[in-house]
Every structure is written in C-alpha cells, then in structure tokens.
Amino acid sequence: MWLTSKIKQLFVVAKPGTVTLPYPFEPRPVPENYRGQPYWDHHKCIGCGGCANHCPARTILVRDLCNELRVMMYDGSRCTYCGRCADLCPEKAITMTPQYELATDDKRDINETMELFMLTCQRCGRCFDHEIKNAIDKLAYLGYRYDNLEMRAVIPVSSQTFDKELYEKTKTYKRPEKIGE
C-alpha cells in the first residue's frame, strides 16, 4: 500500500517536467483584455469626472483651479485596477494598458495628472458654479464627496488632519488597565 502510493506519486511528479517560467528574463505576455495600468488620453477627455465618481478606491481626484482650468489626477498607489473607469468613460478616453510591472521606489511614477482647459458658458462666461454645485455634483449619483488634491492627505494621516477637536478629546479617554495593575 505504502509503496504503490509512492510509485504512483512518482509518476504524478515525473510527468509534467519543468513548469517554472523564466519570468524576469522573459515576461509572460498578458491576455487581450487584461486590466493593467489605466491610461488617460488627454485629447479625448472632456473632464466630466464620471471616472472619479465611480472609482471604488477614490483614486481619481478632480480640482478646478479657475473657471477654465480643471486638474484631474490619478493616484496609482491606491488603484485596484478594477477597470470601472474605462468601462464608464463616455469618450473612451481611458484604456487599461497591458502594463503590469509597476514596482517603483517613487510612487509619483505611477501617477498621472492632466490639466484640462474647459469651455466656458457663452452667456455668463463661467464654466461651472464650482465648489458649491459643480458638474460632478450634477452628474453624480448622490453620495459622491467632492475630492480635491489636498485631501489625499486623509489617507495616511487620518483624523490627525481632520477631526481636530475629536482628536484632542481622544487623548483624555480612559484606557484599559495596564498589565499587572
């Protein structure tokens, strides 16, 4: 019993031969519709902010610098590569490239920033009533929070930046007992 099973195992092991891929020397080609690093085509983008609205990781940030200038920033360090932005883009300005070797020592390498010149209204000369009621708010489903570039600070620093009052209060909270007390 013991010996026969070992001989069987020997066949299982011997049959496939070497299966390890010579990876770093020969990168494996990815399939056709692979979801790698997203790429924004600034010629096609109309700056509607639909991608920012639907990004589950909130990696796409939108900021209006003035009436005509909108900055869109993609923060690759938090991207989950779900490809939802590419699905939803009305102008097909976003493509999921086959690029997957994204390791870097500077995370700015995988960010992408676009400065878009927006058209202004011919009647009032303004593009949006921004900050209070901009196009994202109108386009958006309810629940979208207006992101801005500075708010990226919220992710690593958390409440130290935001809930100052509460943060002060937490310092005085009663703690569980120390060991041995």
């Binding site: 070992k6 692979y34 979801r35 309810l142 409440s159 703690r175």
Partner: protein, 557 residues
C-alpha cells in the same frame, strides 16, 4: 418541515404579545420583530424548530428613534427559509439577554457589538474584548454613526489582552500572531499538558480594515462590489455576489438569466482553484510538500483562464449590482479544455493521496468533533459536511443559476480532518461538473447588465447567503439614504468555524494543531473585516540575547 406560516403561528402562539409583527418580503425570508424581554426564549424556540444559527447583526438607529438594533438570523436549511429575529434596545441603557449560553456560536457576534456599539449582554460567558485593539479607548464605539470613519486615537503603551487562565498543570504554548502555519495574523494560546492540548484561547481581529464602516459612509452602492471582492483574497466573487444579491433583493431588481449563469460559473471556478489551493496548503502543513507543489501546478491553468476571461488572475471584478460585466461564451473552448485537464490531473492526485498511508496517519481521528457538537456550534461548509451535517447553501437556498444545475453534495461522517480533505477533493469534481452544465445550458443572447434608475428605498432589510469554498457567506443589508447602505454586515465562513477550533483542538497532540487550524481553511482577513482602524499595539520589550537564553532555559513561561 415547518413552512413560513407554521413558524409564524408557532411563535405567535407561544409568545403572543412579545411578538410585535412579521414581515415576509419574499416567500423565503421571514423577519420577526420582537420585544427584547423574550429574546432568549424566542431564539431557543426557533432553534427547536430545527433552525441553524447564522449570525447577529447590530446596528445604530439612534438618529431615528434613539435605539440600537439587534438582529439574530437563523436558517431553516431543509425548507429554504431565512428567519431574522429583530429587536431593539434604548441607546442609553442597551442591556439585553445573551443567547450565547444556549447557542454558543453567538458568542463572537455578541462580543462584537459590546465592542462596536456598546451593547451589554447579560449572562454572556466570556464578555471580553474581541474586535477592537487592546488600547482602543473605552466608551468609544466605532460603529455608532456619531464616530467618524477616520477616527484614530493615539496609541497607548503597556496594554495587552488578558488571556484565559490556563487549566491547572498546563503550560501555554503561543501560536502566532505570526507563525509559519497561519499565513495571516491571529494568536492562539494553546494550553498543553505534556503533548496533549487541554484548551485554547484565541485573540484575533488583527487585520481590521473598517470595510463595513467605510462602505456605509464613503462610497455608494455601485462601488461596493469591488471593495467587497477585496475582503478576501480567495473568495472574492463570493462576497461580490452575496452583496449584489442583497442589494438586488432590497431594491427588487431581477437580473437576466445569462448573468445568473455567469455568476454561477465564476463562483464554481473560484471553488476549483480555492480547493486546489487548500489541498496544497494542507499538504504543506503536514510536511508533504509534493502535494503542495503539484496541486498548485494543476491550479495555475485555472488562474490563467480566469485572467483571460476577466482580465485579472484573482480579483475578477466581474460581478456588479444588476448583472455581470463580461461574457464568458467567447472562451467556451478554453474553459472546457482547462477543465478536462484539471479533472484528469486531479484524479491522479486524488489516487496518490487516498493511497498514501502517511496522510491517513496524519489526518485520521485528528480534530474530532461529533455531529451533535457540530450542529450545536453551527459550523458550516466542508467542516460541517465532513462531520455528517448535510448543509449546502447552493442546494438549500438556491441563488444565481443553482436551481437549474445538477450536482451532488458530498457528505462524509469521519468527523475528522481526513473528512475535510476528502470533501474538498470530491467537491472540486462537482464544480467541474457544474461548469460544464453552465456552458451547455447558458442562454446565448441576453443582456448582461440590467440598468436601473429608481432610487432604492431606505430602511429595507435584506439577507443573502452564498456558499463559498470554505462555507457559507452571509451578507445582511439595511438600505439607507444618500444612495448608500445604512448597515452592511458580512459574515465570512471562518467566523463560525474558528469558534469551533478550540473544540477540534481538545485532546489532540500539539503537533497536529497546524493541520487542525488549517483544516477549516481559515481566512482571517474575511473574519476581521469589521471595525474601524488597525492600531499597532501590545507591549514592546526587547530582550537581550542572554535574557532570552536564560528565559528559555528556566522553562518558565
């Protein structure tokens, strides 16, 4: 065999005025509103009718009527009914009878809401901290709406979890938080007498990522499937499907039949690669690395297939509310080829394993739990099926296209780790069978995604369960305003099964502890999904080389 009306009548007869009302949004869902006084007796009555306890859900309702809500959910597996017993307590005095003395599996759920909502349970046998970090300040309940999602109190030094007292004459052997057999952080304090295990205490929840709070405050319904998918590294589609189904049930959305078939396919593909992965891990845990290497070799084509179909090896991103994103039919030939190959190779591996006496000796009679205890502790998935409990959500509560495919549910009654090995191998063959049926029967021309514009009504409760490779996943959803959920509770299969681990470890050899813990296919990240932030805590002390040597030689812990 109680029908939904029988359950209603029975409860009404027994408890009369303490039952405040019934709600049956679907023929398979029963919500019972009860007074908090009788909660323990009512839960017992439901269990006596043949139900299995699933999970409890606590939620904050302070803004509406100044109460905290609690839902105990039960499943009638033979009759395809989910029964949810809802109650509420005033927020200023949230006292409630504990149901843990009768239903031991409720222990963690209740401890969870002691931590997160500040509820108090009278008669709870072990009212210790479960979810929150040891230095989390007292009196701050992160799941209450008033606490912001990104609150991060400063860390405190010199606080640690007090483990249970070791039984007399026993020595404590710590396994974890980081241990080669665990793969993810969790701490087991195993009490041993010589080589025999006499008890065990567990301190886990070290990978809180605050997903539930995040998804009910920061994103909207549509984005959550992708976040849900990342709760677990292995059963991603399971969580996405379960979440999507619960939203669809709450909103009354019917998805196309083709989308249901594709969901079934994704779930089964996941089961194939998950079981192969587990088989490898199990081989590795008992020191049989050949099994590990070769089951993972067989698994690799499945991963490549998934990459080809969905665009990624693991986080498929296929399932969204209202349907699926991509079609699988263009890859029909590829899928069938890969399945044939996997089936052939798996038969070879199965024969090699079944005939190997070394594996038999390492797994037979190890981790024994009787069938009665399995039912009492509400264990799920392959762990329960290896102990003679015939439950499978796919068959008992059909969802997606499982009502249209034929498959067997393998059940063995060896009651040990060997049974779980066997069950998982057999289930893989069943999954391959289901995949072939899906490809054969799937409608060709149907829309993949159903678009809907109407807002979802707030405060609708819905529950959805999906059979993950490791057991049953339960998602409970309370819809809210602002296009996002008010409360979303995820119960991963490891959550009940991990509570049964002390039972499995009892009277076994210490050397078998890794494979026993491994036999439930523990997924700590799934289990720990809750709470808000993860704080690095615990006592830090640096030992010099001499001190360490002295400590080790003095044989005192």
């Amino acid at each position: 065999m109680p029908s939904i009306d029988q359950v209603k009548n029975d409860l009404k007869e027994k408890f009369k005025s303490t039952i405040k009302g019934f709600e049956t949004p679907l023929p398979t869902r029963l919500f019972v509103d009860v007074d908090k006084k009788n909660i323990r007796a009512i839960c017992n009555a439901v269990i006596d009718m043949g139900a299995r306890y699933m999970v409890s859900i606590g939620y904050d309702n302070i803004a509406r009527d100044n109460t905290l809500g609690l839902v105990h959910t039960f499943s009638f597996d033979k009759d395809n009914i989910f029964c949810c017993v809802r109650t509420k307590v005033p927020a200023d005095k949230p006292m409630l009878d504990s149901i843990t003395p009768d239903i031991p599996n409720a222990g963690w759920s209740e401890r969870e809401y002691m931590d997160l909502l500040g509820m108090q349970f009278e008669g709870h046998p072990k009212p210790k901290r479960l979810i929150l970090a040891d230095d989390w300040p007292k009196g701050v309940y992160p799941l209450r709406k008033e606490v912001p999602w990104n609150l991060m109190p400063p860390a405190a030094e010199d606080v640690a979890y007090q483990l249970d007292e070791a039984p007399e004459g026993c020595t404590t052997v710590p396994i974890g938080p980081f241990h080669p057999t665990l793969h993810e952080p969790a701490h087991f304090a195993v009490y041993v007498d010589g080589e025999t295990i006499k008890g065990c205490d567990y301190r886990g929840f070290m990978t809180h990522r605050g997903i539930e709070k995040l998804c009910t405050t920061q994103v909207t319904y549509n984005e959550v499937p992708f976040i849900a998918e990342r709760i677990c590294g292995i059963c991603g589609s399971v969580h996405a499907t379960s979440y999507s189904q619960s939203v669809e049930l709450a909103a009354g959305i019917k998805i196309s039949r083709k989308a249901e078939y594709i969901r079934t396919f994704m779930l089964e593909l996941e089961r194939v690669h998950s079981h192969l992965l587990w088989l490898g891990v199990a081989g590795h845990l008992i020191g049989f690395d050949t099994v590990f290497m070769h089951s993972w070799r067989v698994r690799e084509p499945v991963m490549w297939l998934a990459e080809k179909i969905t665009g990624n090896r693991k986080t498929y991103g296929m399932i969204i509310i209202g349907g699926v994103r991509r079609d699988i039919l263009p890859f029909k030939e590829d899928i069938l080829n890969v399945m044939d190959k996997v089936e052939k190779e798996l038969i070879a591996i199965k024969n090699a394993i079944v005939g190997d006496t070394a594996i038999h000796r390492r797994t037979k009679d190890v981790g024994y739990v009787s069938k009665e205890d399995t039912i009492k502790w509400s264990l799920v998935g392959p762990v329960a099926r290896a102990r003679g409990v015939d439950i499978d959500t796919r068959r008992d509560h059909p969802y997606a296209a499982y009502d249209a495919v034929q498959f067997d549910v393998p059940v063995v009654d060896t009651c040990d780790v060997w049974g779980t090995v066997l069950i998982r191998i057999l289930e893989t063959f069943e999954s391959i069978k289901i995949i072939r049926q899906v490809l054969r029967d799937m409608p060709v021309d149907e829309t993949l995604l159903y678009e809907f514009d109407e807002p979802i009504k707030p405060l609708v409760h819905s529950i959805s369960a999906v059979e993950a490779p490791r057991g049953e996943v339960v998602h409970y959803l309370i819809t809210g305003e602002e296009n996002r959920a008010d409360r979303w509770r995820v119960r991963a299969p490891t959550y009940p099964n991990l509570q049964g681990v002390p039972l499995m470890l009892l009277n076994n050899q210490l050397a078998d502890a890794p494979i026993i813990i491994g036999s439930i296919d523990p997924c700590f990240s799934c289990t720990d999904r809750m709470a808000m932030v993860d704080l690095k805590t615990g006592r830090q002390s640096i030992l010099t080389n001499e001190e360490l040597e002295r400590l080790s030689r003095s044989k005192k812990v």
